[in-house]
Symmetry: C2
């Protein structure tokens, strides 16, 4: 090999906060708390995060060890993330919307001895502890620790003289279990390199394109799939990070957006529905907001229209999953044609492929429906604790989604392979029915599931949550499908629900809907 070369520069995540602290030291992180909004600059936050590392080191945390967090989006949670990852430990995020038994099982898998918890989640943490024998210590952030151990008190006496980095960039940095609809939850292990490359992908101008003048509010939780990578990408760009804490209802978000002049807000569709409804009811506006990034679940076209019309913002769609770190595609803001159904295009660093049911690539990749496969520097190879890769011989990961890709490279998710309903030996795709129903102005949320049927095996039924003060007959609901889907796809029944059950990630919880309605 040729002699003479470039410096080593391991892509470890501590570099992101190091960079933010040095070059954007006064740029702020704002957190909504029960006692108002608190602020800190990146330089001060880094200093505190180093102290948290010192606290963890004092408790014997070593390279590669898992440390768990059960916390909302807050400054203290960000500090804890960088503290754990910076010292080379692995941040195992727990989702407070799961049960203590589920979370204790996950802790058993990761073997974490230390759990950092938001004060109001302490009761849940104690229940988890009762079922998690490995757990040795609970450290409380985000409020009054009561008789428990407060991380803040430990920080005060800790030194910031801690070494970050200086381990291999392929070292694990995070662990997140997906609450799959079938089987036991599966863990996705992120690495420093994968999260760093994911960050650089997000920062591309045709993706999130965060800039130092941007004020970005991730409503997507830090306990799920890296909060879409925003606690890395926003400091990396030197932007302001606004964290909503535990309140993500429309009124709380509207207040926070106004107070901090949020320009870009990121979250699942139901969050934006809540914001729209609050603003409509209260007659208030959020003039600072310029862009809303939506993802995590299909965005009803009517909701996209409503958000853009009512809020005067641009909606940027996206698609991803926990196994992708999580971003796969992002809507391109300068594209002439945008729509709620288009989840955007893949940027350099991720690649898409459509295959048939057995994983063989479709001969024609454009304007055909196929099973979506993904490959890239932030895409899973093996689940936690498993030896067998979940990628095929060519490195493709099967997402389980059905999709089309148009001539310009825009991804359209057309359904979940697992969601399909088999009726009389033929497949019905609930997503196509839901897309039509969700476009009705009276409809807030809709879901189509299969119901056991002795003649056809399964038949579709439609569950709807209407918008407040709106009404529509069953006939009109089902009539809207005429000519849009095959006549035998039209659901056998309409069930009105006052509130659609949502899973911990904000998506409609079809597992719960099936449990209640599939055999009834």
């Amino acid at each position: 090999m040729i002699d003479g070369s470039i410096q080593a520069f391991p892509l470890t995540l501590n570099r992101i906060l190091d960079h933010a602290a040095k070059w954007h030291g006064d740029a702020q992180i704002a957190t909504a708390t029960d006692h108002g909004i608190v602020h800190i600059g990146y330089a001060a936050l880094r200093e505190r995060a180093l102290r948290v590392s010192a606290v963890l080191a004092r408790f014997g945390v070593v390279l590669g060890e898992r440390v768990a967090t059960l916390a909302w989006n807050s400054q203290a949670h960000v500090e804890t993330w960088y503290a754990i990852m910076g010292m080379g430990a692995v941040c195992h995020t727990l989702n407070p919307r799961l049960t203590a038994t589920q979370l204790a099982w996950m802790l058993g898998q990761s073997g974490a001895r230390i759990l950092v918890v938001s004060a109001d989640l302490l009761p849940l943490a104690r229940k988890i502890a009762a079922e998690a024998p490995d757990l040795e210590r609970i450290l409380v952030i985000d409020g009054d620790a009561g008789e428990a151990e407060a991380l803040e008190a430990l920080i005060a006496s800790a030194s910031a003289d801690v070494k970050w980095g200086e381990f291999d960039e392929t070292a694990p940095s995070g662990l997140c279990f997906t609450s799959g609809s079938t089987g036991a939850p599966k863990g996705v292990t992120y690495t420093h390199r994968s999260n760093f490359l994911h960050t650089l992908r997000l920062l591309q101008a045709d993706v999130l394109g965060a800039r130092s003048v941007d004020v970005v509010m991730p409503v997507v939780p830090m306990f799920h799939a890296n909060a879409w990578g925003l606690p890395f990408a926003v400091p990396a760009a030197g932007g302001k990070l606004v964290l909503p804490g535990r309140h993500t209802d429309g009124a709380s978000l509207a207040r926070l957006i106004a107070a901090e002049e949020v320009s870009i807000a990121v979250g699942v569709p139901t969050v934006w529905l809540g914001l729209c409804e609050h603003l409509e009811a209260s007659g208030t506006t959020v003039p600072s907001l310029k862009r809303i990034v939506s993802g995590g679940a299909p965005l009803p076209p009517a909701l996209m229209e409503r958000i853009e019309g009512q809020l005067g913002v641009t909606v940027q769609t996206s698609w991803g999953m926990t196994e992708l770190s999580p971003v796969g595609t992002f809507g391109v803001l300068s594209d002439a044609v945008r729509s709620a159904a288009m989840s955007g295009r893949p940027a350099l660093g991720v690649d898409l492929m459509l295959a048939d049911e057995s994983g063989v690539p479709l001969a024609e990749q454009r304007d055909r429906e196929g099973r979506l496969h993904v490959r890239g520097g932030a895409v899973i190879e093996r689940y936690f604790g498993q030896e067998r890769p979940v990628t095929d011989a060519d490195g493709w990961f099967d997402t389980g989604d059905l999709a089309r890709i148009d001539a310009r490279g825009n991804l359209m998710i057309t359904g979940r392979a697992k969601d399909l309903i088999k009726s009389g030996g033929e497949w019905i795709n609930p997503a196509e029915i839901e897309a039509v129903i969700s476009a009705l102005p009276q409809v807030s949320l809709s879901a189509v599931i299969g119901r056991a049927d002795h003649k056809w095996g399964e038949r579709p039924i439609l569950l709807v949550e209407l918008r407040e003060d709106q009404d529509i007959s069953d006939e009109d609901l089902l009539g809207s499908l005429r000519g849009r889907v095959a006549s035998w796809w039209v659901p056998d029944a309409v069930i009105r629900v006052p509130g659609m059950p949502l899973a911990s990630t904000g998506k409609i919880d079809k597992t719960r809907l099936r449990a209640i309605y599939s055999n009834h």
Copy 2:
């Protein structure tokens, strides 16, 4: 270490063209030739580049072997780059503005057996060949090969069934010799990883931020410092790449900008001076142009004002050097305060430090002048063929530039350490004098060099090239310095030059100026 993880994804440069071909296959590369502008899409270009790899493989080119190019910015040169790098060979770019003897010496260093040359540079290539015993074969691109061997003919019979990538990402991809002002030229070896990370840095919204809708014209040559990374960054974003070929005078560029609707143009200040003068003389405009990126040499404030005023574009300043791949800092477009003297800020992936003469970091890094040091994933560690690193114990590379950094992180280059004039035992900084003189509306270019003086050792003299139809007296020139620099810094003489000598990179050639004027 924890079990379960993310896919391997080696950062090799072929992935960039693979991505562009798959996701932006119809996006264009346009090249100005003597017979009009020719176009090709990324998908077709990739197919041709694969065939070039096959041709090189047929000639026995192996992993790590150097293959040289002596060519203008053209489609064929881009194909040759990706062909060489994609197959794991090393692209050794030669600067046609150097002498045959200099270039033959560089070829001797790299050991390249094959030279790819633009047709009109064939006479120079033959002179080089006469002095370069290792050179076995010359392949002609960009025009009529005459009796020489045309690459195009070989492509026609080659197969595109070639493997790219599948080597380590730290493998070398490119080699570029810097024509230093003292000593023998030194080679900088780029790696796949360093250029890939450099590309991702450029794509950040606060740096170049190239998007798929952008039409980008690199006037900066591909034979020098990767053409600032644009032949990687623009395809990576799916943008249109417009290549000027060998003609970079104002009239040629204006025609090309108009024909291809260039929105972003990138080059050294003298190029923009030429464009401004042509547009003024011809009474034409370039309405598609939105942004000009300037770098490679100090940008006179008057020229920045002139460009922005006359062309109606935003000037984005930058600073870099061959040893940095080459971008160090980039002006941030959204910054409230911009100026010609500010070279912008470092984005994630590069770090700056100011030191004293012995390399010790200044205690206060802001608003102090120091010697600029750099560290990062695309910064040199060792020159070609040298065992000794040029970085210090902490990994810092000494740029030789003098600089300040303001409170917001903006870099201001204040001079070259080597340029300083020692007069009566005290230092005079030519850059500060030049900044005042260049700001005069009558002045096109200015340079201050030291002249031997038996009393003071050295004394500064001022060389100026005035704008056409402009005049100013020596008294007024020197009078403009009053109160702006120390009185003993005022040059002893003013010498008017009809045309300032420019080095091969477009910077003022002070080595030549010194050779002519320093002892006279």
